[in-house]
Symmetry: C2
C-alpha cells in the first residue's frame, strides 16, 4: 500500500473539504454531490486516466460536517482505498438494471435529513457526469431531499489555489517551458505539422509530463486562421508562424500556455503584432490586482492592444487554470467574477494581423496580494526563429 | 481551406445521418440533440482536442430529414466550416447571461413542429455535456416540444461500424502493436514505472498516434492489484509482471488493448494463468457469432477460464470500442445487448492468480458474419521477458 496516487498529504484534502463546508454553510447546503474527475480529484486525491471510459458513473458526497463518502464502481475500490477517503461504498458497474442509483439514493438518505438541500454543480463550466435519466431517478428517490445549484460553493473554493496547488501548476509550466525550448529539435521548414505535434508531445513527456491532455496549434503565412484544429500533414513553409499551445499534466495539474515561432525571418507585420501582445501582457502583469473583476482583465488587455495600434481578437482573453485545462472565470466583457488572491489564471491576448489571420500569446500567473506572479517562463519579446 | 480535419469523405457522414434518421423514424423521434465530443464527431467529422476545455457547450441537431445543424461557440466556426455541415449558428461563448440557451431554443423551435419529440442520450454510457441548469432552461423554452430518451437510436447506429471506421481502428491497433513490440527500449529491471509509462507514450507517438488519451498499467510480483492506478516512481523488479493498456488515438479512433511482460523469467503460476487467458481468448474467437448477446461473450470467456482451472476476475470481460476508449455493450452476466455484424469489441478476460493478484489480457476484434476478425496483432502465448 503506497500513497503515490494521493499527490498531496491528506491534510491538503481535509483543508479543501473544510473550506467547502464553510461555503456550504454560508449557502444553506447540507451536502455536495460531485460527479466529475476534477471535483472528485479535488476532494479525494483520486487520480486516474480511467475516466476516459464513459462506461461508469462515480460519486463523492461532501456532507455538511465530517469526511467525504465515495459511492463508486468496485473497479475503483483499490485506488480509492489508497486516498484519505475512509467510507467507500461500491457496486459492480456497469449494471444495466441499476447502475449505482439505489446505492447512491440509500447513501444520501442515510447521511442526510429529510429536508436536506444537496448542492450539485449545475451552472457555467459544469456538467453532470452521469446519465441524465439516472440523475432524474436519484432526484425522485431522495425526495423530500432536493438537488439545488451547488456551482458557486464549489467554484468559490476551487478557484483559490493552495500553495501546494500553485507549486504543482508551476511544475507543469516548467515542463512545458523546457519542451518549448527544445522546439528546434522537432520543428522547422519542411517538417509536416502533424509530425511537429507528435514530436512536441514526446518532448513534453521527456521533460516530465505524466500525460499530455492538450496540444493544439496552427501554422500559416503571417499568422493562423484558427487555434483549435488538429494538425494537418502539410509541411511548414518559410514565412509561416507556428503556434503550439499545451495543457501538459503533472500530478493531476495542468499548465496552459502557448508559444510562437517564425519559420525563417520574422516579417515586420508579425514583429509589430507579437510585440503588441507581449507588451499588453506586461502592462496587465503590472496592473492586475485582487479586487478587480474578470472583465477588468479583459479591459486591461484590450486597451493595451488598442494603444499599440493592434486590433484585439474576439473571444475571451484569459481564464482560470488548475485541475482542468481551463477553469472559470473568463476574461470577457461580461464576466463579473471577482479576482482573488491565490487564483491561477491565464493572460491570453489575441490580435488580428492584416489579412484576417491572427496571433495569440499566453502566460500563466498566480494572483498575489501585490499583483501577478508568473508561473510560466516568460515568452521572449522577439519571436524565436526556426531554421 | 483543406479538409484534413474531416477524416472521412462527406458521404461517410451522410450515411451515418441516414442510418440515424431511419432509427429515429422507427422510434418516433423528430430530432436528436447531441452534446458530446463522440456523438458530434460521429455525425459531423468535427475533431478537436479543444473539448478538453469545459468552458463551453456545443450542440448538433439531427433533424428527422435533412442535414445536421450545428449550434456552437464562435471559436469553432472556422473548424466546423471545414466539415460537411452547412448550417452553423454561433454565439460568443462563454456568455454568463445566456450561454447558447436562447440560440439553441430558437434553432430547435424553428426546425421542429410544436409536438416534436427530441431524443437526447440519457441512458447508460451517456452524459449530457452542458450545464444541467441550462438543459432545464432549454427544456422549458422549447415546450410543448419535449426531450425524450434518444440513447437507443444513437447506440444502435454507432455500435455497427462502417468499413472506414474499422480501418481507422485497425490503424490505431497497429500503432499500439508496434509500440508494444518496442517495449524493451523503455522497460526493464530498475526502470521506474512512471518513466516506463512516459516512454511508452512517446513510442506510441513515434509510431503514429495523434495523441494518447489513455495509458494505464501496473507492475508487481506475480501479478498486480489493480489496473487503473497512475504509475508510481518505484523501479521494476525481477519477478514483476508489467502490464500496459493503451487507448491511442489516430484520426479520432481508439485502440484499447494491453500486453503483459515479465521482468526476468516467467514463474509457473504466471505462465499457467497467462496461458489460460490466452486460450480463453482463442476459444471465444472461435465461438463468438452475431446474434449472441453481450452476456454470451461473458459466459464464453468465463467458462473457458474455469475449464482451465483459473478463477475469472470480477467486472466486465470486454466491451465496445471506437470513438471513445470504451463503448457499450459490456460483457457482463446482465447485458442483453445483441451482438451484431460490424461491431468492434474487446475481449478482455481477467483472472486471479494466487495471493489475490490478477492478470488481464485484451484483444480488439470486429465481429463478422462468420465470427471475430482480429484488429489487434495477436498477443504471444508466451509472455515476453524483459531484461
Amino acid at each position: 500500500m503506497t500513497d503515490h496516487s494521493l499527490v498531496f498529504p491528506a491534510a491538503e484534502y481535509a483543508g479543501r473539504v473544510a473550506r467547502l463546508q464553510a461555503e456550504m454553510a454560508r449557502r444553506g447546503l447540507d451536502a455536495l454531490l460531485l460527479t466529475t474527475p476534477a471535483d472528485i480529484f479535488y476532494v479525494s486525491g483520486f487520480l486516474t486516466r480511467f475516466w476516459e471510459s464513459p462506461a461508469r458513473p462515480w460519486f463523492v458526497i461532501v456532507p455538511a460536517a465530517g469526511d467525504p463518502v465515495a459511492v463508486i464502481p468496485s473497479i475503483g475500490a483499490e485506488l480509492m482505498g489508497r486516498t484519505w477517503i475512509k467510507t467507500i461504498r461500491t457496486w459492480d458497474a456497469p449494471n444495466p438494471e441499476d447502475d449505482g442509483v439505489s446505492l447512491l439514493v440509500d447513501t444520501l438518505c442515510g447521511l442526510l435529513p429529510d429536508r436536506a438541500r444537496i448542492g450539485v454543480p449545475m451552472g457555467m463550466e459544469t456538467h453532470l457526469r452521469m446519465p441524465v435519466a439516472d440523475y432524474t431517478r436519484v432526484a425522485a428517490g431522495i425526495a423530500p431531499r432536493s438537488f439545488v445549484d451547488g456551482t458557486a460553493a464549489v467554484q468559490r473554493v476551487r478557484e483559490v489555489k493552495s500553495e501546494a496547488e500553485i507549486e504543482a501548476i508551476r511544475t507543469a509550466c516548467a515542463i512545458a517551458g523546457r519542451a518549448f525550448a527544445r522546439m528546434p529539435e522537432v520543428a522547422g521548414a519542411g517538417r509536416p505539422l502533424d509530425q511537429v505535434f507528435r514530436g512536441f508531445q514526446a518532448l513534453l513527456l521527456q521533460e516530465g509530463a505524466d500525460w499530455v491532455s492538450y496540444v493544439a496549434g496552427a501554422a500559416g503565412p503571417g499568422g493562423y486562421a484558427d487555434v483549435i484544429s488538429p494538425a494537418s500533414p502539410d509541411p511548414l513553409q518559410p514565412g509561416d508562424v507556428l503556434m503550439l499551445d499545451t495543457g501538459a499534466v503533472r500530478n493531476g495539474y495542468f499548465c496552459d500556455f502557448d508559444r510562437n515561432f517564425s519559420v525563417g525571418p520574422v516579417s515586420d507585420a508579425i514583429r509589430h503584432t507579437h510585440a503588441a501582445l507581449w507588451h499588453a501582457t506586461e502592462d496587465t502583469l503590472a496592473a492586475l490586482r485582487p479586487g478587480m473583476l474578470a472583465r477588468d482583465a479583459h479591459r486591461l488587455l484590450s486597451e493595451a492592444l488598442v494603444k499599440r495600434d493592434t486590433r484585439p481578437g474576439g473571444g475571451r482573453l484569459g481564464h482560470g487554470l488548475g485541475i482542468t485545462l481551463t477553469e472559470w472565470p473568463s476574461f470577457t466583457p461580461l464576466d463579473t467574477t471577482p479576482l482573488r488572491e491565490g487564483m491561477v489564471l491565464t493572460l491570453e491576448p489575441g490580435a488580428l494581423v492584416d489579412t484576417g489571420r491572427m496571433l495569440v500569446h499566453e502566460e500563466n500567473i498566480v494572483l498575489r496580494a501585490g499583483g501577478p506572479e508568473l508561473l510560466s517562463p516568460r515568452a521572449p519579446l522577439d519571436m524565436p526563429e526556426l531554421a
